[in-house]
């Protein structure tokens, strides 16, 4: 039955080459921890992606309870944390995942750097990787405000002041982020929410797609 469905789709869309390319690509010996223990350094990229997937899933569930307005944001997080079944776990995974993803990404960056894997022909993939890094930091920064507790508000205040110190366009950046030139309030919270759950994840998914397509095209860099 499943085979018949597969063949029906394959006849019309020729999907076999698409996923066979991923399934059958050969994994070289030097990145395989089963052969060389030191190859575990090649796991960090995959683990970054793994945590990213967990962040997306846990984030989707968090938005089922979270309310991005200054009256209820904190209350909804408090409720999620203390009343909702497993809410503490879901929020905990999102909270710790945010740190883990930074750690894993940092280790992945160091691996790529010290193995010289960014060299020709992989320059573009390195640039996209750095953009992913910046996007992740942006996600961390915008997500920090959302619980709307004391540390969120005051850390964001400092962050916005830093953004405002950019020469020439600092004030515009500040208004774009905070929604107002002086107040950090309701408008800021909805903007950070929008940036955190729509703008940056959209950018991130695009960049990740580019990152992975480039890896598939070029293959992993050879042994040192």
């Amino acid at each position: 039955m499943l085979n018949k469905i597969y063949d029906w789709v394959d006849e019309r869309l020729d999907i076999t080459p698409i996923w066979r390319d991923i399934a059958d690509h050969e994994v070289p010996e030097h990145v395989n921890p089963a052969h060389h223990f030191s190859a575990f350094i090649y796991c960090f990229g995959g683990l970054t992606f793994f945590v990213t997937v967990i962040q997306i899933l846990s984030g989707m569930f968090l938005t089922m309870y979270y309310t991005p307005d200054i009256e209820n944001a904190w209350k909804s997080v408090y409720y999620l944390q203390n009343e909702v079944a497993f809410g503490e776990i879901v929020r905990g995974m999102h909270h710790w995942g945010a740190s883990l993803v930074i750690v894993m990404m940092f280790l992945h960056t160091l691996r790529v750097f010290f193995t010289g894997s960014y060299k020709k022909p992989r320059e573009l993939n390195w640039v996209v990787g750095v953009l992913i890094f910046v996007t992740m930091l942006g996600l961390g920064f915008t997500g920090y405000l959302l619980p709307w507790d004391m540390k969120a508000l005051f850390a964001t205040k400092v962050g916005i002041e830093i953004a405002a110190s950019v020469p020439f366009i600092g004030e515009q950046i500040k208004i774009l982020l905070a929604g107002d030139s002086t107040i950090l309030g309701a408008q800021t919270l909805t903007r950070f929410f929008a940036i955190h759950v729509f703008f940056l994840p959209a950018a991130l998914l695009g960049l990740l797609a580019a990152h992975f397509i480039m890896i598939r095209r070029q293959g992993i860099s050879g042994p040192l």
Binding site: R91, K119, V127
Partner: protein
């Protein structure tokens, strides 16, 4: 695209009707030496590493519930902000004289901008074919220097931050159940106590007064002689009023 004569397509689409790729995995003989098929051989191993990683991740999550401070209060000007740990090095950098005040733009924009810009342009600056880190001392040295700086700045920031105070200033304060019409509250509101301890006993310059654990006698003593940073002789009213107030304050409990 290959469009020879006599080719057949599925309807009017670009999908060829014949010569489809068979859906069978490559033979293992096509993986020379110790190379491996991604699916399913290598993915299974990755899966195991992922499972071990996930267990550690879940243990951390369960053992350390994610923090939540009290609801944001923009009027609290005494709060000392601190960013998440991965921004601490920047937070520390901005404390140095060469990177703050009139030179703020150096610490906030120039140095981080140069760092990210340099990181982005690494492949275009280090164009040699050599990949081994010890054979290209400059890039390696720069990266180690950057890593050491970030590590040092983060370390300094953590060491110089008063984490006890940070915990106290953000702690969620339970709201007390009290009758604002009661005599005790009227005396409280009419005295200078309310200035430092808040209109709902939530604290401010002084600590919160809910569940303080003090007996009425101790409270009377504190009002006369002070405690900690609270100076002596704060009470300006009569002794009778103070007794009523002390009874009231000692009875302040969080309500359920």
């Amino acid at each position: 695209m290959h469009r020879g004569k006599g080719m057949k397509f599925v309807g009017d689409s670009r999908i060829k009707a014949e010569g489809k790729m068979p859906n069978v995995p490559k033979d293992y003989s096509e993986y020379p030496g110790k190379t491996e098929a991604f699916w399913p051989n290598f993915l299974l191993k990755e899966w195991m590493i992922g499972a071990v990683f996930l267990i550690g991740y879940l243990i951390v999550t369960v053992a350390h519930p994610s923090p939540l401070e009290r609801q944001a209060d923009p009027t609290d000007t005494t709060y000392i902000p601190v960013p998440d740990w991965y921004f601490l090095f920047m937070y520390q950098l901005l404390k140095y004289e060469f990177a703050s005040g009139p030179y703020n733009v150096i610490g906030a924009i120039v140095i981080p901008g140069l760092a990210v810009g340099a990181l982005m342009l690494v492949p275009f600056m280090d164009t040699s074919k050599e990949r081994r880190p010890f054979k290209r001392p400059l890039p390696t040295a720069f990266m180690l220097l950057a890593f050491a700086s970030i590590f040092y700045l983060t370390w300094e920031s953590v060491a110089n931050h008063d984490w006890e105070k940070a915990k106290a200033q953000g702690a969620i304060v339970e709201e007390a159940q009290f009758d604002p019409e009661s005599e005790g509250y009227q005396i409280y509101a009419g005295s200078s106590c309310i200035g430092c301890h808040g209109d709902a006993f939530q604290g401010g310059l002084g600590p919160a007064l809910i569940d303080s654990g003090h007996t009425p006698e101790e409270i009377i003593d504190i009002a006369h002689n002070g405690i900690g940073t609270m100076p002596a002789d704060q009470w300006k009213g009569s002794d009778e009023e103070l007794e009523v107030l002390a009874e009231f304050l000692a009875g302040l409990k969080t309500g359920e």
